[in-house]
């Protein structure tokens, strides 16, 4: 196949290698900037500088600031909800919840910017994601809440409001990403430190599991 044809085909359908690379560089840079300053506080200049390219060049790939924001939000969305989907209704409650908490805490350690990106969107009233929150997120929460409710009905978990339990888990784990600066000010280190991660994991799981596993019947 001749090069002309190849490159035309790639440009129209697949994307050239350099395009894919640059788009990724831009989205990485955008994640960094948007997660710190929010949509309105971020500037295209800043994202371009972070991506190591000129502003007009960046705008060749994404015509408007909005488009960059939308792209980085959607790119992150699936990854973000993945561990929640992996909670197995047929598994045992203790194992499933332990694995989920650990996965969420690992997300806070490995992808704190993604956590803050969503937080920023939610803080602004979710102008872009409100539809997704009210449908997809709501559905998946209700689905998992039903699983928890079943576990409770079967006497495998102590009676707790399932939806608020989910909120609690999200709150405790995402806190280590969203409040990283504050945690570092108090502890001197963040979750990226293995010791802090371990203590956070043990403390959250220790309290949570003691709190929700069924009390042994008094003999």
């Amino acid at each position: 196949m001749d090069d002309q044809l190849m490159s035309r085909a790639a440009a129209s359908k697949k994307r050239t290698r350099i395009q894919a690379e640059n788009e990724e560089k831009i989205l990485d840079a955008a994640l960094e900037v948007f997660s710190t300053f929010g949509f309105r506080g971020a500037t295209v200049d800043q994202i371009a500088a972070q991506a190591g390219m000129s502003k007009p060049n960046l705008l060749y790939y994404f015509r408007r600031k909005q488009d960059i924001y939308t792209a980085v939000l959607t790119r992150t969305l699936d990854m973000w909800l993945t561990p929640f989907g992996e909670m197995d209704p047929d598994g045992d409650p203790e194992g499933e919840i332990t694995a989920y908490v650990r996965a969420k805490l690992a997300q806070s350690r490995d992808h704190p910017q993604e956590s803050r990106l969503f937080l920023g969107e939610v803080m602004q009233g979710a102008p872009l994601l409100s539809a997704v929150l009210a449908t997809d997120l709501r559905d998946i929460v209700e689905e998992k809440a039903a699983v928890i409710a079943r576990w409770i009905a079967d006497g495998r978990l102590a009676p707790v409001d399932p939806v608020h339990l989910v909120f609690m888990i999200w709150a405790m784990t995402q806190h280590y990403a969203d409040f990283d600066t504050q945690i570092r000010a108090v502890l001197g280190k963040g979750v990226s430190d293995p010791a802090v991660f371990a203590t956070a994991n043990d403390t959250v799981l220790g309290v949570l599991m003691t709190g929700i596993l069924p009390r042994r019947p008094v003999p």
Copy 2:
């Protein structure tokens, strides 16, 4: 006393009534705008419109955008840490922690914007508050952590990392303010709804207290 003298004295020392009122209107408006869009995302225009005055008039009271931000942050700071200081080392652990959780949850209900204002500051790396976090906040956390550690040593609480326990309580309670939009998307209502507040309080306290009160020795 003649009016001229009175107003000069008030202007130089105490502030006139209209000044005090306008400054308060501005700070209330600034809280609303900064807590939603962060420092960089907020505009003076927006704050002025929210305060119901012209931009130049607002800038007569606070010469720079920075000054408004500093003023609203410091105005909120004391109020925000108050309930933490009220945890009594000589009280009983269950009662003290229960009261603290309820107070923090009430703060999330009654002052969600203050919660998000601090969160925004922390998300940006706390450019203004980092010194306060590393000194005042760190000190007060360590002080309360020592109280919790004493309770644990006395066998009145199960062994838990005291600092991470504090993080957990902050996370679970502030979540209802910081993620209000998301919670409303899922539940249809926020913490401002009495039923949601009650369930949140019961769930958090139920899990937390079962998790940290000392296990009864098996007879």
